[in-house]
């Protein structure tokens, strides 16, 4: 029987034919930028892509998270279809790399398209070749698991009125313009180097490379919590920090209590 403990999981079955892999640190490091780009796109909400959607003429406040996921997913399907054609023609150097084989277990992308249920008018992603279906329920289970696995936050913010919508759009455009000039900075690589050199983290590079991404993320959160606890306690001991005035009381215990904040509400 498969363990329910996420620390021991290597795969997370979501639905028939849809199984998430829990990749090792080594697997992610090999394709870090591609992995995080794909994982963050699949778990993103329309708010996070407001500029890109606006450029496409889509109002990000009028589409659902599932509709946005369908758009993004189909763009990967299209890319994979092109890759298959290039592979058949032996044009291997023109194939765009994909992170899907690291994120999913044997998920065949080619064949996926939007299927509209004629009775309910609800849409889902259906692979006509493999019959794998990603409906809205499966989608929510999938992104919930992906967020938990990757330590991603579910962004729930939305504009409260038209002027806020316009303001947020301008702000996001400015941010993207700035970000576009910056080169990609390895995220996980920096975390691995930082953690391996922390006395609170007992593992060396080789052992860390073999760790699952979820285990590493949880260790990172615990080490951060423990370091903050230690520093806070030093402050309390010498009288610089008053525990009564602390808004976050969870820091008064070195054991990280409370639920995973990535669960969907």
């Amino acid at each position: 029987m498969e363990s329910n403990c996420w620390l021991r999981k290597q795969r997370i079955p979501i639905a028939n034919g849809v199984v998430l892999r829990v990749p090792t640190i080594e697997e992610v490091l090999d394709i870090e930028q591609l992995y995080y780009s794909t994982a963050s796109t699949l778990t993103a909400v329309p708010y996070q892509f407001m500029v890109q959607l606006d450029d496409m003429g889509v109002d990000y406040t009028t589409i659902t998270e599932f509709q946005f996921f369908q758009m993004m997913f189909l763009s990967y399907v299209k890319q994979e279809t092109i890759n298959k054609l290039l592979e058949e023609q032996g044009m291997y150097d023109q194939i765009t790399p994909s992170a899907f084989n690291v994120i999913f277990e044997d998920l065949e992308l080619v064949g996926f398209d939007i299927y509209v249920n004629p009775e309910t008018q609800e849409t889902c992603l259906l692979n006509s070749i493999t019959n794998v279906e990603i409906n809205e329920f499966v989608y929510y289970q999938l992104v919930k698991a992906m967020r938990k696995l990757n330590n991603f936050e579910h962004v729930k913010a939305k504009p409260g009125n038209e002027s806020a919508k316009k303001y947020l759009m301008e702000k996001e455009r400015r941010r993207l313009k700035r970000e576009s000039k910056k080169p990609y900075e390895p995220y996980l690589e920096k975390l691995v180097v930082s953690m391996v050199n922390m006395p609170e983290f007992k593992y060396n590079y080789e052992q860390t490379f073999g760790m699952s991404l979820y285990v590493f993320n949880e260790s990172l959160a615990q080490v951060q919590h423990k370091v903050t606890f230690d520093k806070t306690m030093i402050g309390v001991s010498i009288g610089f920090a008053d525990t009564k005035k602390m808004t976050d009381k969870s820091i008064l215990s070195w054991i990280r209590l409370g639920g995973n904040s990535h669960d969907q509400s």
Binding site: A157, K158, G160, N161, S163, A164, L168, R178
Partner: protein, 263 residues
Amino acid sequence: MINLDKFTIVSYDQISGFDRTNGSLVLIMDELSDFSLAHTEEKSDITGKAGRVIGSLKKNKSVTGSGTNGLLSGGALAAMVGGEIVDGDKLNVHYTDVLTVQNDKATTTLKAIGTAGNEIGTVYVPGDSGAFITDGTKLTQAASAGTTGTFAYDPDTKELSFHTNELADGTQIYVFYTAEVEGKELKNDANKFSKTLALYVDCTCQDACDNQFHGQFIIERADFSGSFTLQGGTDPATQGFEFTTLPNLCTGKTDLWDFIVFD
């Protein structure tokens, strides 16, 4: 519509400052890494019989804004030093050239200006150690390079001429001179002090239901502090700033700031 009973400011996005006299834009800081508005007020107890507190006297209400912008802002610098940024096409700078001698000649990058016949003054030729301050040879400017140890300079052609065969081809020399360039200039005049601007702080507010709104602090008189440090080195220079908000006595308004959330 935002519920101001329960809300938070999730980010301070931009500070724009305007001249209070002519309304022209003076500064924009939109890379705020931190910002705070600190409020203070003094309160003295009024005591009555047996030292009972029967009231309080409140005074000296004050608001101080401070923060850091990730990038230096020319306008903010100008506000803090009390200067103006001006466009100039004849701004004097001191220029450093590392030149290579070829056929007893070398050409400066820019046209050196100054007293005719002493535009450059000295040419530094490094010694064997590569040092040219504590070692090497110093050539002196003259009308012509007729003798050893001298050189001539023609500002029109920007050409340096050396005494025949004194410097071998390929010799590197260092010259320092004043030149005119086009650019933007900010002067820090000892007799001018930091400015008071009309300031607008744009921020993003969020209510308890994750709805976001555009908010703005309006500070009619922000008196900038002239005490700051321009720091550089291993970390990039950032723009630290501080201002005190003042009531607008001209209009009779006593607001230290107004906060408006856009509907």
